[in-house]
């Protein structure tokens, strides 16, 4: 383990990507992910990598598409309005079975919204990062160290399943500094025999494509892709459970809001309320097995988000009516306070304990 240093989440993500073997970054400036691109622009030229500032988020994601098609580890980063612009390219990446890493340092929306931290892009990330039937892998770190730890895995799984992966963070995590250790990863990049980097006279031409004009062919390809998604849902769910075993009230929160929820759970325990926390780490696949299990034992489930309530849909689907599911959130860039969340827990405990 290398020495711990203080690093901003944005910079830590960038360095972790470099350690994971990424040498191709394409981006467009936007607050609050700025430091990530700036870090890349400083580091990439020194290690023979590519940092390219594109003319738009649209161009940036398509440069990622080209680089990924050519077989290298490629990434881009942005914040909410920029991810909307990238959504076209993400759909094409998914439809072309191309791996890549996309980072969303979320800010308030809709529209230009604001620049303060938000989690209002959950639906976009997990349900509709673009048009068509498809999913991308979505990971939600809650600390700067976890931002680092998830990056290499996100690249690996993107390569393994040949699909885009996203780190869904927010302005708070991107801007804050925490102690972090970034070890040099032992990177083994997989062979990509499908890549379009010249057939060298040794094989037929490779084609990277998402167009299938015959509906039967397209249906088959999408159905096959969904079989892959089924495997991922069965094997790749990630979450952390904190004090849930005996909990009457289980909170479900990810990323920044999970930190606030955790503080509120600690305070509730001090008051004698049996509260616990499930923190989804993979948002797609959603850790529905763990949440469903909590539905068997908890009296109440409370979802906490920095939005008007988006992940709560998935929580309700997983719990499937086994116990009441309620929601507390702040939005528009407001970070909820532990005291606010504690009040919600107390309200629920009043009825349940």
């Amino acid at each position: 383990m290398s020495e711990k240093v203080l690093m901003k989440g944005n910079e830590a993500l960038a360095e972790a990507a470099i350690q994971a073997g990424c040498r191709h970054f394409f981006g467009y400036p936007i607050t609050p992910q700025t430091e990530l691109a700036a870090y890349m622009s400083k580091r990439m030229p020194k290690i023979g990598g590519v940092y390219l500032q594109a003319e738009s988020e649209v161009a940036a994601i398509n440069m990622v598409l080209g680089a990924s098609a050519a077989g290298v580890r490629a990434m881009t980063s942005s914040s909410s309005p920029g991810i909307s612009l990238k959504s076209e390219g993400i759909s094409y990446l998914a439809g072309s079975d191309l791996p890549c890493l996309i980072i969303n340092i979320q800010r308030g929306g809709p529209g230009l919204g604001g620049i303060q931290p938000s989690q209002a892009d959950y639906w976009q990330a997990t349900k509709a990062t673009g048009h068509g039937d498809f999913q991308i892998l979505v990971f939600a770190p809650s600390t700067v160290q976890e931002m680092v730890d998830l990056v290499a895995g996100a690249f690996d799984k993107a390569d393994k399943y040949r699909m885009p992966a996203m780190i869904l963070a927010d302005g708070m995590l991107g801007q804050m500094m925490e102690p972090v250790a970034i070890g040099e990863a032992d990177v083994k990049l997989p062979e990509k025999e499908w890549a379009t980097s010249g057939h060298k006279g040794k094989r037929k031409h490779n084609v990277i494509n998402s167009l299938y004009i015959d509906p039967n062919v397209l249906e088959n390809i999408v159905v096959e892709r969904y079989k892959k998604y089924e495997t991922i849902e069965a094997t790749e769910q990630m979450s952390e459970s904190y004090l849930t075993e005996d909990a009457d009230i289980v909170l479900v929160a990810y990323g920044a809001s999970s930190r606030i929820a955790r503080s509120a759970v600690n305070s509730a325990r001090e008051l004698g309320i049996k509260a616990g926390l499930i923190r989804p780490i993979s948002l797609w696949p959603f850790p529905k097995d763990v949440v469903a299990k909590a539905g068997d034992t908890a009296k109440q489930i409370l979802t906490v988000e920095m939005s008007m309530g988006q992940m709560v849909d998935d929580v309700r689907l997983a719990v499937n009516g086994k116990c009441p599911v309620s929601f507390f959130g702040r939005t528009g860039g407001i970070i909820p306070t532990p005291a606010e969340v504690l009040e919600e827990i107390k309200k629920l405990a009043g009825g349940a304990v």
Partner: protein
């Protein structure tokens, strides 16, 4: 028996889907022959557009990537930056390159991206059935300018080579036509130069090819060639608009 002519190895055996009299087929062949002659088929990667040429990933025998509408040069940029040894070209129509993809075109050009761009200008959207293109001529009748392109209302056509020639990153901007055998030969020379420029690391090269669309122009193939000569060439004069070698 001695072989006196062979189909280029740069094309696959897939039958082309283009309409009778369309000049896409000629340009495909020229690009494929040039790549074969330069010996780069094994390291060439082409980028297909959205538009009539969308299926060209099945026609060119080199590695191919199909890009979102207008984004071919951003995709080509990604490929070239990832593996600079590759010879990377995009092949795009006027809607793809000069409407929805204008930003990608201008910025790839001004970055001096070391790629080759083949631009088919036929003054109309072919794939979607004949709508006004950014290069449709004043007064030209299309599906969406049924009374003719009114420049007071719909604005003016874009002269892409002239526009890009002002950019320092451009090594070659040349407009050619494939309406006569002589012009076909000239077009091939230009395309070859555009690939040679890339191999020599000279930067962005674009060849604009004036092309016909008999189906959507509502003309026979021969009438279409005449229409091109009478209407397009006067508005889009053939020639070299930028050649870095001249600048020295």
């Amino acid at each position: 028996m001695a072989v006196v002519f062979e189909k280029t190895k740069g094309l696959t055996d897939a039958p082309l889907h283009y309409c009778p009299g369309c000049t896409h087929g000629i340009v495909h062949r020229l690009v494929a022959e040039v790549m074969e002659e330069l010996g780069v088929l094994d390291k060439a990667v082409g980028v297909a557009p959205v538009g009539c040429a969308v299926f060209n990933y099945d026609y060119f025998s080199c590695d191919m990537v199909q890009a979102p509408h207008g984004r071919a040069q951003a995709v080509a940029t990604g490929i070239k930056r990832a593996v600079p040894e590759n010879v990377v070209f995009s092949y795009q129509g006027d809607g793809d390159l000069a409407a929805i993809g204008t930003a990608e075109t201008v910025h790839a050009a001004t970055r001096g991206e070391n790629i080759t761009v083949i631009f088919i200008n036929n003054a109309i959207y072919g794939m979607t059935g004949g709508q006004m293109a950014p290069t449709s001529l004043p007064n030209q009748i299309t599906q969406t300018t049924p009374y003719g392109r009114d420049t007071n209302y719909a604005g003016y056509p874009i002269r892409v080579c002239e526009m890009l020639s002002t950019l320092d990153g451009v090594a070659l901007a040349q407009r050619v036509s494939v309406d006569t055998p002589k012009n076909v030969m000239n077009a091939k020379k230009a395309i070859k130069k555009a690939f040679e420029n890339q191999i020599a690391g000279k930067g962005y090269s674009i060849v604009e090819v004036l092309s016909t669309c008999p189906t959507n122009w509502g003309l026979t193939p021969t009438e279409a060639l005449t229409w091109l000569r009478d209407n397009m060439i006067p508005y889009y004069p053939l020639g070299v608009y930028k050649d870095k070698e001249d600048v020295k």
